[in-house]
């Protein structure tokens, strides 16, 4: 709180500020304040470092491992060989380097997870705010819709949709997004309801603000921190879901993800053959990424939720 300044500012008094400058300045200050607080969370920093690591791996995958290493026909290594100097994490049943698979798999897993999260967050935020803001029939209907989606069991729907739409990365992201938004919507709806009761909403109405202005200027900025914190937690769930669906054979067969790796390992009996290097690395990667998102998410949540902050 201490970085904000209310004192006289030479620039402010000599030159009249435009609205945009005011806004920008405010955003910069708020961002630097948030960062200063985030830095104090050790677990949050651990999560962030892990995330940056995986993001870098995914982005620079072509530099780290040749994509030809993914093709079964061009595989050169021994079948299901343990770690060696040439293949640090061993090889799979086709003689491909597990490390290459891991590196390229991170791209698929992360992008599906992020895409699914974006779908889920947009749907959840929009429907949550709308069902909280509009009272009466519209709000009630949206709330019922949310509850309806909430009670649909995830796996059967995912199985049906994946079969109907055909296995592809987009389908998987879509299916995960479509089934995971109701939780967010309920959270955002509750937050919206509490914001709706604040006097500044009344003030906005008296100033003549319409529904759109109220939702976009007052509700959204005040639920945004929560959306933000919830996003990181949803990414974790989405990546886990992607892994699950791929493991069940609903993934895109032409793309390697951590989930499909686990699926292959399982169906080729890596377990019974003792080929731990084929099973553990993708599993550990999933756990680490999920953990990283959760840690960062929890830190953000504590930052933005004043009631948790003082604990």
């Amino acid at each position: 709180m201490s970085s904000a300044s209310a004192g006289p500012d030479p620039a402010a008094t000599s030159v009249a500020l435009t609205a945009r400058q005011v806004t920008w300045r405010r955003r910069r200050e708020s961002a630097s304040r948030t960062w200063a607080q985030f830095r104090r969370h050790r677990s949050g920093i651990v999560g962030l470092v892990l995330l940056v690591f995986f993001a870098l791996v995914a982005i620079f995958a072509p530099l780290l491992a040749d994509s030809s290493g993914l093709e079964v026909t061009k595989a050169t290594g021994p079948v299901l060989a343990g770690p060696s100097s040439a293949y640090p994490v061993g090889t799979d049943e086709n003689g491909r380097s597990v490390l290459t698979l891991l590196i390229w798999g991170s791209r698929v897993s992360l992008s599906v997870g992020l895409l699914a999260t974006v779908i889920s967050m947009v749907l959840g935020t929009v429907l949550g705010i709308a069902s909280g803001h509009f009272g009466g029939r519209v709000g009630g209907l949206l709330f019922r819709l949310t509850e309806w989606f909430l009670v649909i069991p995830f796996l059967p729907v995912a199985l049906v949709l994946a079969t109907l739409l055909g296995p592809s990365l987009l389908t998987i992201a879509f299916v995960i997004g479509l089934t995971s938004w109701p939780g967010t919507a309920l959270l955002i709806r509750a937050q919206t309801l509490s914001i709706e009761a604040r006097p500044y909403m009344e003030r906005a109405r008296v100033l003549g603000a319409g529904n759109w202005h109220q939702m976009s200027r007052h509700v959204l900025p005040n639920v945004m921190p929560m959306v933000f914190a919830n996003t990181t937690l949803t990414v974790a769930i989405a990546i886990l879901s992607e892994t699950t669906l791929s493991f069940l054979g609903l993934g895109d067969p032409s793309r390697t993800s951590w989930g499909t790796m686990l699926d292959h390992a399982f169906s080729n009996g890596a377990m019974t053959l003792g080929a731990w290097w084929f099973i553990f690395p993708p599993g550990i990667c999933v756990v680490l990424v999920v953990l990283a998102f959760t840690l960062a998410g929890q830190a953000l949540e504590e930052l933005f939720n004043p009631r948790l902050r003082d604990r």
Partner: protein, 338 residues
């Protein structure tokens, strides 16, 4: 009647009651006028319907009967008409801390109304080359925050309670309204700040010719700034008149009781009414104040011979004429005799 800027006629507001089939009448037949440049205090206990009346005058509640009119034309409730109405009649809320969005700077809070009504563009079309910054600065300095630029980037939590209330007032002033409706504007502020905010309201009336309807339970506040007072009890106005008349020569036993409990040192014996404002879903027959009325319990009404009317006969609604009036059988009987 030509001087009346904001008026209510036979206004009724009902709420669907959760207990039972009867609807609670928050406002039950109110006539009230606020003239141009006039400060009117609407006084009563919490639950008497004063806040509901204020919200209805603002167009935030729809009356179930009767009408609100502004500048002689009835208020319409279409989105557009309401939006236009907001430029003329503005609200000052009780709690300035809650009334400001914590994520908005002072500048944004004040500029919000300007943006909603696109006032900068409008002024531009009319040939006035005022920028948004000019208008925000003008509103802030009119609200007593000077130099205004110093406050642009401040956030509500960096300001004191009095400064926050001034920002709320500036936000309303930015729209250049004719009427301010202030709902307990100082009750959440410190005693020392109170006088400053009230002085500001008076100054705005003097400088800009604003009318103010101030909703309060504080008779001292009314004495400080109001030209006229309307005392409300259980959905009805029970006494109305100039401040000197109502507070100097109160006619309604309820007004007398309210006056007697204002904390002072050399005061009249306090008449502490038992209980609180009764439930608007169960309005007593006859005079609605009779179950708590000290004049009825003390036998004054019986002495004059109106006790039967007090408990059995409904009182007429006080009309919006500029005279000292009280809806009380006892006071009517006494004044007709004397």
């Amino acid at each position: 009647m030509s001087g009346e800027l904001l008026s209510a006629r036979s206004l009724e507001v009902t709420f669907a009651s959760r207990h039972g089939p009867t609807n609670a009448k928050g406002v039950d037949g109110v006539d009230l006028d606020v003239g141009a440049g006039e400060i009117v205090a609407l006084v009563g206990e919490s639950g008497c319907g004063k806040t509901t009346l204020a919200r209805t005058l603002l167009g935030l509640e729809r009356p179930s009967a009767g009408q609100v009119s502004y500048a002689q034309s009835p208020l319409r409730y279409s989105t557009r008409a309401l939006r236009d109405y907001r430029r003329h009649v503005q609200l000052i809320l009780q709690d300035p801390t809650g009334a400001l969005n914590p994520r908005q700077s002072v500048y944004e809070s004040v500029a919000e109304g300007l943006r909603i009504h696109k006032l900068v563009e409008r002024y531009h079309r009319e040939g006035t080359a005022l920028t948004e910054v000019d208008l925000v600065a003008r509103a802030l300095s009119r609200a007593g925050l000077r130099p205004p630029e110093r406050f642009f980037l401040s956030f509500p939590h960096e300001l004191s309670g009095g400064q926050r209330q001034r920002v709320v007032i500036a936000g309303a002033l930015a729209l250049e309204p004719d009427v301010l409706i202030a709902d307990e504007p100082v009750s959440s502020l410190d005693a020392s700040i109170r006088g400053e905010i009230l002085a500001l309201l008076l100054k705005l009336r003097d400088d800009l010719g604003l009318s103010v309807l101030v909703v309060t339970h504080d008779l001292g506040l009314a004495w400080n700034i109001a030209d006229r007072i309307a005392v409300m009890y259980l959905g009805r106005i029970v006494e109305v008149g100039t401040t000197e008349e109502v507070l100097g020569h109160p006619r309604h036993p309820y007004t007398r009781a309210l006056l007697s409990v204002v904390p002072e040192i050399e005061q009249i014996d306090p008449i502490v009414l038992s209980g609180e404002t009764p439930d608007p879903s169960r309005i007593p027959p006859g005079c609605r104040f009779h179950p708590r009325c000290p004049a009825l319990q003390g036998g004054e009404a019986t002495a004059v011979g109106v006790a039967g009317r007090c408990t059995g006969e409904d009182l007429p609604v006080i009309e919006a004429v500029r005279e000292h009036q009280a809806a009380c059988w006892l006071s009517m009987a006494v004044s007709s005799v004397g």
